[in-house]
């Protein structure tokens, strides 16, 4: 940077040697992606959260292979206190709590990721098309968004999950079906402002069709907003699924989830707090770390944000 400033101030260009452009004086150009990644990697809290989340996911995927007690095995003594054999005790029906938590974590992560991906896809497609095309498409999408927003996600999900059984993917699809609206609204606003820019006009002038402009020009330019909101949607989905399970209208056996493990065991909190706090701590760690990652991504994608906090 220094050499650039002095060169500009002194006003005379340093002589360029034959066939050898002076590139060493300029800072290495970085792509947008590299800049964002660099900022994100420096965000300590977000990086720690990535570590925690990866650890939880890996343990939930790998540990069940080696764990001595199977998730299905209900042959252990009922309400065994924590011990070497059962680090978090056993449930009323005599299942090992650790294996319950591991399987619950698998399903909770699976459901939350599915919800976030499906909701983001729906939201981005609707929002980007509405923001670019405006007119009747925009009105239609906006009214559709209003329509889905007037019924609380939990209530609609409760009725629909009852209709279509409670397997994990039904819960995920239903939660996504009533969770895409915020992303659509944000994407619509951004698509609207982006479509005023020259590069969109240039693309249109060179003959690009609607689909090409929206998905090759607009959406890639919204990647920051989309990534941040998709990440936060994962955290919200973890909590939404837990709430649904708590009112008894979420996933049904053989599928399970952390929310279900908590709601099956919270009545024992006074006498056997480990049965509640075990799955609870894992659930909070998951959603907390995802929220921190979302926050770090927001800072990393924000070009105005220079200083990286905490």
């Amino acid at each position: 940077m220094n050499s650039l400033v002095t060169r500009a101030q002194s006003g005379d260009e340093p002589p360029i040697k034959d066939g050898e452009p002076d590139v060493t004086a300029l800072p290495e150009p970085r792509s947008q992606g590299a800049l964002v990644l660099r900022k994100f990697l420096r965000h300590k809290l977000a990086m720690a959260s990535v570590g925690v989340l990866l650890l939880i996911a890996l343990v939930a995927l790998i540990l069940p292979i080696f764990w001595p007690h199977s998730y299905w095995d209900a042959s252990f003594p009922s309400y065994e206190p924590p011990s070497g054999d059962y680090p978090l005790g056993t449930t009323q029906v005599g299942k090992d709590m650790v294996s319950q938590i591991l399987r619950g974590t698998q399903f909770s992560l699976l459901i939350a990721l599915t919800v976030a991906i499906v909701a983001t896809l729906i939201g981005v497609v609707f929002g980007a098309l509405a923001g670019y095309l405006r007119g009747i498409v925009d009105s239609a999408v906006s009214r559709l968004t209003d329509l889905f927003l007037i019924v609380p996600q939990l209530a609609a999900a409760a009725i629909l999950v009852k209709v279509f059984s409670g397997s994990w993917w039904v819960v995920a699809i239903v939660l996504a079906l009533f969770g895409w609206m915020p992303i659509a609204r944000i994407t619509r606003a951004e698509a609207m402002s982006l479509s005023q820019r020259e590069f969109v006009e240039a693309a249109r002038a060179s003959g690009a069709g609607t689909m090409r402009i929206v998905f090759k020009h607009l959406v890639p330019n919204m990647v920051g907003t989309i990534t941040v909101n998709a990440t936060l949607a994962v955290a919200q989905a973890v909590l939404a699924e837990a709430a649904l399970s708590f009112i008894g209208l979420g996933v049904k056996p053989p599928d399970t989830s952390l929310g279900r493990v908590i709601s099956d065991n919270y009545a024992q909190m006074t006498g056997r707090p480990w049965l509640f706090f075990g799955p609870f701590v894992v659930l909070v760690l998951i959603s907390l770390s995802i929220n921190f990652i979302g926050d770090g991504l927001r800072d990393a994608f924000d070009p105005r944000q220079r200083r990286v906090k905490a």
């Binding site: 007037i150 019924v151 609380p152 009725i159 009852k162 837990a242 709430a243 708590f246 909070v284």
Partner: protein, 338 residues
Amino acid sequence: MNLVFYILRRLAISVPILFIGSFLVFLMVAGAGDPLAEIRNQPNINPESIAALSHQLGLDKPLVPRYFDWLGGFLTGDWGISIAQGSAMEPVYPKIMNAFWVTFRLIIGAEILALILGIAVGVLAAVRQYTTIDYVATTLAFLFFSMPIFCVAIILKTYAIDINIVVNQLGWSDVLGNPFLRTTSPESLRADGVGDFVVTYIGAFLLPTLSIMFISFAAYSRFQRSSMLETLNMDYVRTARAKGLSGRRVIFRHAFRNAMIPVTTLFSVNFASVITGAIITERVFNWNGMGTVLVEAVNKNDPNVMMGWVVVIAIAVVLANLVADLLYGILDPRIRVG
């Protein structure tokens, strides 16, 4: 006058949305299964009475006429009957309205507290950015934001029992009531005199209010913090500082008033998710509010109750959004509503 037209126009736009929404929910509810399955399975019930009940509920009609029957009834205040076992053909309208009142007063109290606390903490965290206060506020907000509300409620409920025991041991239960913190529905509360009334109702409302408040507080304080930071970086705040006003005066008279505008509307915008929080909290504390009504109706396949529930909430959400827009127009003179 403009404002009246604006409100009327907004409400007029909402009518078709409510109409289509209620029809879609009607299809969902109709698909949820046979409402009379439980009655059919009873041993000594004759087919005639089932047919009569089926006719009374309009189940023998095709879907579309059945929907318009329901809609006609709904608009004239006849919301049908609840067919759930044990409810003795209770009419739906008073049932839902009672439940809505229970939920509504819980939400309003909790949200007002959450707004006050959230704004105060958010402003403090913004003014003292990157200090211990900011980090503590941020950590707490993230923590509450990442907790399922039912877990907050369950933890509060469990430790309330311990607090009640301590209150008893200290001999304060004569004044504070026994139990002081109630973990059940406040319906059968009785109070003698003003002091007793205050103590009894605080004891009954404290825990559910706190659990809703904590979750909302997390969102409000974060929102207020970023709004305040943005305002503090505005030119007019710098001008006020440059003119030599004291820091306190700049923060409260200039920045704070404007930074408060977005957060005051957040409650209305988030109304649907606040209701979700209330549903869950009520389930933990066994309140007979909208949460209990919904869960029972879904579990027992009670079509009229489900329909009434969804439409009442939908109307409430529409009105809350309208209030948000009006508030915004009143608080921010740059935005002209109408």
